[in-house]
Structures are given as C-alpha cells and as structure tokens.
C-alpha cells in the first residue's frame, strides 16, 4: 500500500549529533498516537548536505523542507502536516525572510549543485537494501556480470574519463587495467575510506548515506580485474559509517549480491572491513596496505605500484570512496553521459565539505568547472557575520590558499594546480579577515609534523625545522633570512620526501607566502599580527575616551593587570597582561582594543 506521506529524517553524523534520532523516534511514536501510522512512513536517510541548518526533515510528496527541527516538533508535523495537510511554516527553510520555498531546488544552497555521488544520500534509507535497489541499485552489477566483458567495463571507465577523487586524480581505468594485466592468481580490491584530511567529511557522508554504492562498485571491479576479495579500510573514528557498511554487507549477502556465485553468474566475491587507527599517512596507498597487513603504516617506495605488487604482494586496485560511488552510475548510464558533465580536463562532479567562516556549512556536490566564487558565495551564501572574505583553503594539509583574485577559477584538477593549490579530497575551508594566515600555515604544519611517519629525513627533519621557523614568525623573532631558509627547506622536502605527505607538506607555507607576503612581512618586520591572532604579537589597550571606569574589566582580569579608580579611565599593565582577552569580552563600551 502506498503511504500518504513519506517523512525523511536526516541520519547523517551532524544531524544525529543534534538529536535527529530522537526526532525519528518521536515521529514514529506520534504517528502511532495520532492514529495515522498506516498513512505515513518515516525513513532515516543519509546526509542532505545542508548541515548548517540541521537537523533536517523533508516531507513528501509536498517536498516540504523543514530545518532546525527539534524532537518536540514531531507532534506538530504529524498533526498539522500529515493529518490536516497544512505545512508547518515556522519550520520551513527561509520562513524568517517571509519567503517559504515552493521547491527544494529553489533553495540557493541546492540550485547550482548536481548530485551524482550523493545521488541517494537524503533520499533512501541506507539500512534498507530494497530502497537502494529501487533506485537502480545493483543494476550496474547485473550489467557488468552478464552483459559486459572485463575489457568492456574498463573501457566504459575510459570513455567516462573518471579520475581518482582521493587527491591525485589518476585515471581510474588505467589503475584497473594495470591490475588486470598484472600476473597473478590472487588479486585484491581496496577501498580507501581513511578520510584523514581535517575539515573534510565527504567520504563519511557517502558511506553513511549510500553504503551499497561502494559495495556494488567494488564488486564490479572484482569482476573486471579478476579479484575475489575486497577490503574496506575505514577510520575507526567513523562508527556510524562502519555500522551502516556492516548492515549493507549482511543484506547483500542475504540477497546473493556478495559471496559465492553472485546472482548465479559463477563469480565469487566478498568484502571485509579493516579498521584504521588514526594515522593520516595511511591515506597514502602503500602505507594503507601496510596498515591492513597489521604493520605500522609506513609508505613504501614506488615502483612497484600496488597494481603490480600491492596487498600481501598481490596486484591490488585502490580507489577512494567517492571514486567508487561514481562507478555504478557510470556503468548504468554510460561513460559518455559522465563525460558530458564537467570540463575537458576533469569529468563528472566533485563533492566538497564546505566549512569554516561560511554562512551555509555543508556538503556540496557540483559539476567540475564550477567556480570557487559560485561555491563560496552562491551555494555557501558568503561569509558569516558580515565579515570580509580572506581566502579559501583546498586540499587540506597538502593544498594551498586561494584568494579573491582567483575566485573565478573553474574547479578542475589542472586549474587548481596552476594557482598553487590542489583538488585534494574535497575539504574546502573558508577564512575571513579574523584569521591569521601565518597561524593557519602553522596549523597545517603542526598537523603534518605530528602525522609524519618518520621514515625519511626530508619529511621528518624538514617538517620540524619548517614548523620551528613558522613558530619564530608567530612569536615575532624571525628575520628575512628565516624566510629564505624556509623556501630552501620546502624545496628539499618537495624533491626528497618518499611519499606525498612529505612532498606536499610545504604547500600551505609556500602558497601563503605567495599570496600573503605582506602579512608575513608584518609579522617579521613590524612584529605585528594584523588579525590579532598571534598572542605574542598583540597587546591590549584601553581607550581613555571610551572607558567610563565601571571597573568590570578590572574585576574580571585573572592576573590583576588592570588598574584605575572608579568612574575614571582604567589602564592595562602590558608587562603583567597574559592576553587572555577576558577584558575585551567584558567591556560593554568597546573601550578595549587589540593591536
């Protein structure tokens, strides 16, 4: 029986953290209490992407888009919307501006997006295989098993021009082809779900919202290269994604879509989950394989590439989650369809985790070739709190910053490389005028130094030295020679490091030096931090014309650095001040400033 209404509740990590699970339970409970349990189906889906406005609830067939829903709103959604057929306007997105949106597609956040990878996220119940199948799920596997030869499958990927979404952008079909041609009876398929880039959660959301798409793609790969075992290497920090994968694998086995003799084709294939343990370097493919084998995750020299000598010395294909999720759509709709999306250099779409000082944080998927300006200002809604845009950082600890002048760059692998950043896995962090660029560079260096495996000297020693020099700059102790030395070390790291972690670690430094030389100069020559972030370089002072002598700041100061008489302007003893900023927060008259 068809239901009158379908209520989709976002079950992504961000919405679950805001109690979407309770909303789901309350909706089911209320439907029962109000006697309409047979008219409405409540479904917990994957991420809708609009995390800023979560938790999100969508009601079909009206397509009502409810945002910032609370568990206690469930009662009203059932009584008003389901029973009386009246939308709950106060929960609708945009109601604050008296403009309720007719269609979800009209919401600015979704307008320029195109969902291929996230096609099922926020649409189906990820823990129900039937819903995946109803959305063309496992159709690609069927086609690959019964209608296509191994070479047909690889050729379809070649026509599609799919490039790896993990960062480097290597053509997927070539990886598969090398592995297929490699000699050996035993071959492996590996899914890299070790999403270590801080500030990025594309793969997590894909696995949480549509786990079957990855399983299906890995099975297709097994058929194409002649492998019978796949491994998913996933971060242990992603418990919800792991759970959904386990449920999906169990259901697939029950349906004969994994295991022996899949769909009666005679092809055997199964998948196992292996947990990562919090090492960024394990995103590098050879290190990842070491980790699956139970060792310290140290990168190995290439060649031999994993396609020839990978897991336990056997030929292995490694692709990342987003790459996998594209594949079933390519097999079903054809390589030419995929190639028609995007630019000449990069086909298809790319998912980004848009975060930082932006109005609409969230997960966005856009066709390649979309400009950064469109993402930041049209989809992201611009900078929060009316501040000024400073830069956007892509590619995480391996990438660089992109400034105002390059905002119209179309996003594809080649163009981003040209302006000194990189596609990376999809982290996109927006910075505003309050962020100190030297501090951000140091943040990334702290990260890569901490995550360096220590195997090769350029990365181990170079990273630490580079970070030390950055520290000198933020403390106002650096000279111009230090910058020259930084450039030298950066070059040595790029040329001499064994793996991509070390080779790309200096990128945040080099790109910030290139685009914000004046900010480095302010730190080095004037001993000032223009955005007031570097504590050693700032000082607090009280404007005597604004201070009314209320003594509020003096009472709050934890070190007693503020003195003055009641009703007379106060002053700060900068020798004693620890720059904690409490006084500035306390002052109601904006009399305290940081310089």
């Amino acid at each position: 029986m068809a239901f009158k209404n379908y209520i989709l509740v976002c079950g992504g990590t961000a919405c679950e953290s805001s109690k979407s699970d309770q909303i789901y339970k309350n909706l089911v409970e209320e439907a029962k209490n109000q006697g309409v349990a047979d008219q409405v189906q409540v479904v917990k889906t994957g991420c809708f992407g609009f995390c800023e406005q979560g938790p999100i609830v969508k009601v079909l067939p009206e397509d009502s888009f409810y945002v910032q829903v609370k568990p206690e709103d469930a009662k009203e959604i059932i009584s008003e919307h389901v029973i009386k057929g009246r939308e709950v306007t106060r929960l609708q997105y945009g109601h604050q501006v008296r403009k309720a949106y007719e269609e979800v597609e009209d919401i600015q956040f979704y307008k320029k997006q195109k969902r291929v990878v996230l096609r099922n996220c926020g649409k189906i119940d990820p823990e129900n295989i039937d819903e995946y199948i109803a959305c063309d799920g496992y159709k690609a596997l069927e086609k690959a098993l019964f209608e296509m030869s191994e070479d047909d499958i690889i050729n379809e990927l070649k026509v599609a021009g799919l490039r790896g979404r993990g960062g480097a952008g290597f053509p997927t079909w070539m990886k598969w082809n090398f592995t297929k041609q490699a000699e050996g009876d035993v071959k492996y398929v590996v899914c890299n779900a070790d999403e270590g880039d801080p500030g990025a959660y594309m793969d997590r959301s894909t696995l949480e919202g549509d786990p079957h798409s990855v399983l299906e793609a890995m099975t297709i790969c097994g058929k194409a290269i002649g492998a019978h075992q796949g491994f998913i290497y996933i971060r242990a920090e992603y418990p919800l994604a792991i759970h959904r994968l386990e449920v999906a694998m169990k259901q697939s086995r029950e349906y004969g879509l994994l295991g022996k003799n899949i769909l009666g084709s005679g092809f055997d294939y199964d998948i196992e989950i292996r947990l990562g343990a919090g090492a960024f370097v394990c995103g590098e493919e050879t290190a990842l394989l070491q980790s699956i084998e139970g060792h310290r995750g140290m990168p190995q020299p290439r060649p031999p590439f994993p396609a020839v000598k990978g897991l336990w010395g056997k030929p292995t294909v490694i692709n990342n989650v987003e790459t996998w999720a594209n594949i079933p759509a390519i097999i079903v709709r054809g390589g030419e369809w995929f190639a028609s999306i995007g630019t000449a250099d990069s086909h298809g779409t790319k998912v980004f985790a848009l975060t930082g000082k932006i109005c609409n944080s969230g997960l966005v998927e856009v066709p390649m070739g979309t400009t950064l300006r469109e993402i930041v200002f049209d989809i992201g809604g611009g900078i929060a709190h009316g501040k000024k845009f400073k830069a956007v950082q892509t590619g995480g600890p391996s990438g660089g910053v992109i400034t105002e002048e390059n905002l119209d760059t179309p996003i594809d692998f080649g163009s981003l490389m040209k302006i000194g950043s990189m596609m990376g896995s999809g982290g996109m962090i927006v910075m505003d005028e309050d962020d100190c660029i030297v501090d951000v560079a140091k943040f990334y260096l702290d990260f890569t130094v901490d995550e360096s495996c220590g195997k090769c000297a350029p990365c181990r020693i170079g990273g630490k030295t580079l970070n030390g020099l950055l520290g000198k700059i933020t403390e106002g102790k650096a000279t111009d020679e230090d910058v020259a030395q930084m450039r030298q070390i950066a070059l040595a790291m790029q040329k001499g490091s064994l793996c991509a972690l070390g080779q790309t670690a200096p990128n945040p430094v080099l790109s910030t030096l290139k685009y914000f030389p004046e900010e480095y100069e302010a730190h080095i020559r004037d001993k000032k931090c223009p955005s007031g972030k570097c504590k050693k370089l700032i000082s607090y002072s009280i404007d005597p014309t604004k201070c009314i002598g209320c003594t509020a700041c003096a009472r709050k100061c934890p070190v007693g650095a503020i003195s003055g008489e009641l009703k007379k302007p106060h002053s700060i003893n900068t020798q004693v001040c620890i720059k904690c900023g409490v006084c500035k927060e306390t002052c109601k008259f904006s009399a305290i400033s940081v310089k």
Partner: protein, 154 residues
C-alpha cells in the same frame, strides 16, 4: 591471571582472528574497546596469543593515534581540532577546560572522572567547534557553555 584479563567475548574474538593475516590492529581495537586502553598486561597477552613479538605490538600501538597507553577517565572528553573547529575556536574550548578542570590534552583529572583528548575532525564540521563527552556530541560550543556541559556529567 591471563585467563581473567580478557572477557569471554574478547577471547572468542581473538580466537576467530588468530590465524587471519593482518589481524593485529583489529585485535588491538577490540582490546581497547573492552579495557579502554592498551595496558602493558593486555599487550603481553596479545603477544602471547597471536605469537607476535611485544616490540612489534608496541611499535604499532605507539604509531597510531587511536590507541591509548593510559587509562582514560570515566568521561572522556574529545575536543575537535580539525581545521573548521580550529578556525572557530576549538583551542579556546581546550583552554577553558584547562581553567575549569585543570585538564591538559592527554591528561586526567585527579578524581579520574574526566580525561581530555584533542582529536582530528569528528566529521560534523557544520557544527564547529565541536566537543564530545563520553560519545555525546556538543556542537557550536562557546566558552561560556563549557561549565554547564561539564555539570551534566558529574
């Protein structure tokens, strides 16, 4: 003694994985899930059961951030220092926890109630800055809210 160190389920898990290649990290995860950290005794036991030298186990445990060598508090606090949280003031939350409970990153309160960890990206950057206590996630945390959140766990 070694018989009691691991629960029946954990022993069954170890037996199941004993002969699988690449089992060490999976077993260590399961041990930490049960005991809360990798103690010296637990590492000895894993070494004996899997026939892997202790030195190799120690190498693996210290390589990966996820494995803990010290017993965590009753409530483990994780403050996210992924890029989005860092920009939005994750470090200020850590500072505040230091003021409130005298906690340093990696530290434990004297009563054993709270421990503090700085973690990389919890994966809900839309809620930055984020902290979790005993698995419960708190988003868009401000300095002033910290004390109130801690009170829920005492």
């Amino acid at each position: 003694m070694s018989q009691n160190l691991f629960s029946e389920e954990l022993n069954a898990f170890v037996d199941e994985w004993k002969d699988k290649p690449g089992n060490l990290i999976m077993v260590l995860h399961r041990v930490q899930q049960e005991i809360g950290y990798i103690s010296r005794e637990a590492a000895d036991e894993v070494s004996r059961r899997l026939n892997i030298p202790l030195a190799k186990i120690w190498g693996v445990v210290t390589f990966y951030h996820f494995f803990k060598l010290n017993k965590p508090g009753k409530y483990n606090i994780q403050v996210c220092l992924g890029t989005a949280c860092y920009l939005k003031g994750g470090d200020i939350i850590i500072e505040e926890l230091g003021k409130q409970k005298g906690l340093n990153v990696g530290g434990l309160t004297e009563d054993g109630k709270f421990s503090l960890e700085a973690v990389r990206c919890v994966g809900c950057c839309g809620l930055a800055p984020v902290m979790t206590i005993a698995g419960e996630v708190f988003g868009k945390v401000t300095k002033d809210q910290v004390a109130g959140i801690l009170d829920k766990f005492s």
